[in-house]
Structures are given as C-alpha cells and as structure tokens.
Symmetry: C2
Subunit: 366 residues, 2 copies
C-alpha cells in the first residue's frame, strides 16, 4: 500500500460514487468508476453502465480528450487488459498518454493476477493500489464472491414483527411491513442478478419477484426469477411466468417439463440434499450464469435451510412496529439448531427507519 493524500482520497471517493451509479445495470460486470485529474482539475469522469457498453476508463478518457495527457487516473478496479466485449482499457490509457494511475482494488479474478497493472507499469506509468480498497470490495461484494468462490453473494430478506413473527400459526398472514419497506425491497431486487424463492411461497402468494417501481431504472433488466421446487409443483398459471425476464425452476429427479417450458419457464434438475433441491448446486449454477447477487425472498423453510448450511452472506430485516405474540410462526425453521451454541452471531452494519419500519442490515459473523 502506498501513501495517499487527502486529494487522492477525494478523487477516489468520487470514483466510487460514480461506480455505484451502475448498481442496477452493470451486473454481471462489476461496477467501476473513474476520475481523471490534470493539474488538480478534474478533466474527465466515467462509469460503467451495461455489459457491452464502454468501460468507466474509456468514458472518462472521452470526456477528458486532450487533457488526458499526463493526467492522474483514479479508478475503482484494476483496468482490464484482455479483449472482451470492448477493447482493453490498459491499451486505451497508455495510448491516451496518462501520467499515473491509482487503483482502489486489484481485479479479484485469479486468472487476471495483476495483468493489467503489469502492462501499465511496463509502459512506464506510475501505479499505486489499495486506496479505499475495502469500500471498493464492498461495492462489488457479489462480483468478488462470484469470481473468487464461484458462488453468488446471498442476501436474505426478512419482513417480520418486532417480536420475530411473520404470520399467525393459523396461517393467517398479510403484508407485515409498510409500503416504504416494500419500495425498498424493489431496490434490493434491482441490484440482484437473481431473486430466489421456494415453491411454498409461489403456491401461497403467487409473487411476481420482479422490479416494477417507476423510479428505478434498470434499463429493462429484470433479475432472473429462481424457484426451488424439488417435486415440480410449479403452477402453469404462476403470475411470474407471464412477466418479462426469465423464470428458472430447479427440481430434483426426472419430471415431464414440456408444459412448464411452454408456459415460459426454464427447468433444471439438480442434486437432492436431504429431500430438497441442493441449494449449493443451485448457487453454483447461478454463478455459472453470471449472477453476482441473489436476493432470497422465501418462507421459513428455505430461509432456515440456507442459514443452517452457512450460505447466507447478509440479512436485510424489516421489522414492523408490532408485536404479534406467541401464536405465530417465526422467520426461519432451523431444526438442527438445538442448543445456544448453535446460534449465529451477526455483525450489524446499518440500522435505519424505512417508513414506520426499522431496517437492519447484518452480515453473518463467521
């Protein structure tokens, strides 16, 4: 890690804010932002909007024009050095004659292994790395997880009363949380490559699992809708099958899937784990399809199963200001957690009011 000045920090913070503009559109690519500074003047800014569209560095170079010559480049992720859907950024930077480059985090893809930085150094550019690396890694937690672990980042959404209930024991249930919390969930969906639920929820609620808020611009993208349905009970009339985007149903064993295909779903049979679809196999498949972030909006069975198997990275809990008492069912079914030692510790990263509800964001501690 090099030494950085206050000005360096300000420029990189701006690059990170630019990067975040791609939160609903850049995936499966990482979000990237870039700021070009020449003689203390910001001469170009850029961010990456869509897969296939120009990279952040190229957008910033375009804006800077001739002023890119000799400029310092602040970029949130190591520039690419390979020909992908767009020409490599390292080449563009070298050709533009920039002076030096400051990178928040190196490319996490083990195949890249600092290749972009090596090329830049070989071309005689000053290269410094590690400025605001933690913030850059957090911004792209899903992308980092996918390319390093071949699994997406799993975010589990819970909506409950303050005493942890999601429905009455009788099965009676309705929206527990308010309209602002539901609008907030639209943002969680929009930043996810996939939204996952269980067949029980589909049969009970016929959810859409799509992004439909008018104030969220996904550029037409919809998260992949994923239904875990070991015994293939997916109704042909499920509402989500009629919506733009793809519905992917995971089952186990062999089933006649022709009718469901025709109704609009893609169906994959995967391994069985204790009588259910093996969620590890599902996550592997989603990573292979380029899903960085999965939002789980599921009932207590699937939610508990993911937690018991240690597959949840983050919890987003909306607590309504109600108490529902003891004749209720809770968030999660965790039959294997029978002693206090089985409880899981959380690291709370954010608590805030969303309408009348409280939203708690937490990661699993171990």
């Amino acid at each position: 890690m090099s030494d950085f000045s206050v000005k360096d920090c300000a420029h990189m913070a701006r690059a990170l804010r630019l990067a975040a503009r791609g939160r609903y559109t850049a995936h499966p690519n990482p979000m990237v932002g870039c700021v070009l500074v020449n003689a203390d003047e910001v001469v170009g800014t850029g961010w990456h909007r869509f897969t296939g569209a120009a990279h952040a560095e190229v957008n910033a170079l375009r804006e800077a024009g001739e002023k890119a010559r000799g400029a310092s480049v602040y970029v949130t992720l190591e520039p690419c050095s390979h020909d992908g859907k767009t020409p490599p950024c390292t080449e563009a930077l070298i050709n533009a004659g920039v002076g030096d480059i400051i990178v928040a985090m190196e490319d996490p893809n083990p195949d890249v292994d600092g290749g972009g930085l090596k090329l830049l150094r070989a071309a005689g550019l000053g290269v410094r790395t590690g400025l605001m690396a933690a913030a850059a890694a957090e911004l792209n937690a899903g992308f980092v997880k996918r390319v390093t672990q071949r699994r997406p980042f799993v975010r589990l959404k819970i909506a409950s009363s303050l005493d942890g209930a999601i429905a009455m024991q009788s099965g009676e249930s309705q929206w527990i949380t308010g309209p602002e919390a539901r609008a907030d969930v639209q943002r969680l969906r929009a930043r996810s490559g996939a939204v996952m639920t269980g067949i029980g929820t589909v049969l009970a609620d016929d959810p859409s699992l799509n992004v439909r808020a008018a104030n969220i611009d996904t550029g037409g993208l919809q998260p992949l809708r994923v239904v875990l349905d070991s015994r293939m009970r997916m109704p042909l009339a499920a509402g989500m099958l009629t919506l733009p985007g793809t519905t992917l149903v995971f089952c186990t064993g062999k089933h006649d899937t022709a009718a469901l295909h025709k109704a609009g779903a893609e169906v994959l049979s995967v391994a069985d784990f204790e009588g259910h679809v093996d969620v590890r196999a599902v996550l592997r498949e989603l990573a292979n399809r380029g899903v960085n972030d999965v939002l789980v909006e599921a009932g207590p069975g699937l939610a508990g199963n993911l937690l018991e198997r240690g597959l949840v990275d983050e919890l987003v809990i909306y607590q309504a200001p109600h108490i529902m008492g003891s004749q209720t069912s809770g968030w999660i079914k965790t039959p294997s957690w029978t002693t206090l030692a089985d409880r899981r510790s959380l690291i709370i990263s954010d608590v805030r009011r969303v309408g009348a509800d409280t939203r708690i964001t937490a990661s699993l501690a171990d």
Copy 2:
C-alpha cells in the same frame, strides 16, 4: 397557552434538565426543576432531590437571595400550595417578591386543580403556563399516571435475540445481551419505584432485582422488589430477601406466611384472575404505596399477561445481534392473540446501540 420567547424556551429547557437530576431519587415525588432569571441573568437554579428535602423553587430562591425580587420564575411543574413535608412553595415565591412565573405543566393531581396558580395570580403575579408541557409530562409520566389513574407507569424490559428468542426450547438459557445492556438495565431499575417479576423467574434465576452499579447514585434508595407468586412458592433462601430494601410477595388465597416474613419478605394476598395473581390489583396496591414507575423483568408468562390485559405503557427491548432459530421460546406468551387483528401496534420513540446490542424503546399505540 401563552406566547413564549426563545429566551423563555432556553430557561425552561434548563429547568427540565435540572429536574431530570432527580430521576433516581425524587420518587414518589415528581422531578421538578426551577430557574430564576432577573434582567436576563440566571440568578438561581434548583431541583428537587428527595422527598422531605427542599423543593426546586426553594432551592432556586436560596441561591438567588435578594436577586429573587422581581425575577421571572421558570418551573417545570405548578408550585405546591399545600403544607406537606415542606412549607408551600407558593408562599415562598410570594414572600420573595418574584415578578412573574412560567410553568411547564399544571399539577396533574385532580385535588390540586390549579390551586397553586390561583394563589399566585391572587397575589398579583403574572402567570403563564404550557411552555414545554409535553416534555414536562413525559419526564414525570409515572407520577402523572399514578395521580391521575391510580396506577403506576409500567415499563416492560425484554432481552432477546434479533429473531425474538429468549431461550432454547430445551430451557437452555444464559445472558442473551451484553454487559452494556445489563448496565443500562441498572439505570432503568434506579428510576423505578418497583421492579416486578414472576415466581418462575425467581425459581429459575434467583435474581437480585436491585441497583448495584457503582456509578448510579440513588442516595441509598432501592426499588421495591415485587414477586407475583399466586401459590406461595417463594423460596426462603431467595437471594433478594437478604438485600437492603423491601421484597413484597403477592399471592392469592390463604397461606402461612410466617416463615417468609421471618426471612425478610412482606406478603400480601390479592384477588385471583384466571388462576393467577390479578395484576390490576397488584398495580393498584403499588400506586397506593407511591410507586410511580414499575419495571417488569419477567418471563414470557407474566410479560404476555400484562400485554394481553393492556397494562404495559412502554417496552424497552434489548436485541442481541444473534439469530437463534426456531427451536426456541419467544418473549411473551399470549394465548388469547390468535388472529392478526390481535397484534399490538407500537410507537417507537428511540432506537440506539447499547454495546453490541440494539435498544428499542416503544410505547403501545392504543
């Protein structure tokens, strides 16, 4: 309500802060603060520390001396006009020759009925009321409730995991929350005239229910310890019986109480309600004894019973950053709440971090 200036507000805010200094010592009296201002200069301040000690107004007059003449008096509660354990404050104010008086809230005691203000007006003093009345009423919520409704303010403390569990179904249990939360509970106890629990908690945990934090000065006061024990199972060896202060055991029906008396407890038999001590009768008795605030630290049975009967004024919930899952027991047993319509709405007044835990303070909405 009169018109008030910004200076009026600043002086009354100071009087309220002074009043709050009595939070651990003034009860059963209300907390009261007083500020004397002469020609824009604060010439005297006072607050009420102990029953039997000087009232806030008298302390402020003493500090002001001759400068009280013609001064404006800011006081958080209508000055008393009756001879109690100390001479009436109205007389002292009139004798000191103060100019006018600004009162946050009138005495809530229906027997007083503005008597103090009438005397002051009759003596020719300008009297204005209602400045920061809501804050003054909130400060003395327990006192106000006792004198207007003959019931104390009931504050229910809960310590649970984030998913609402307090123990494993096996009965396995331990401190769920951290040391900072437990220190915070010491402050809740210190501001309460009584701490109440059920016999189940006594038998399981042998709690002390006392104030023992070195940094809390109650001037030697301890809250009355109240145990609800319909069938008189209170152990003679219960730890709380050996501590300074009084332990009051409520039972139903007739029991031989000689041994428990000798062990240090006071015992009262009250009405039965559905097989348990009638908590309404208990609260009435506590109000008669001058208890303004009751802190309930109880298991799910008593806590649920109080909520079902609509007797809880405020919840203070400490949520530990853990999830404990489904093989657990929850906060409260509420067998009568069987439909969603039975749930109770909360008004959350404060959410903050206490150590690693989150403390939520909420009142019941209806």
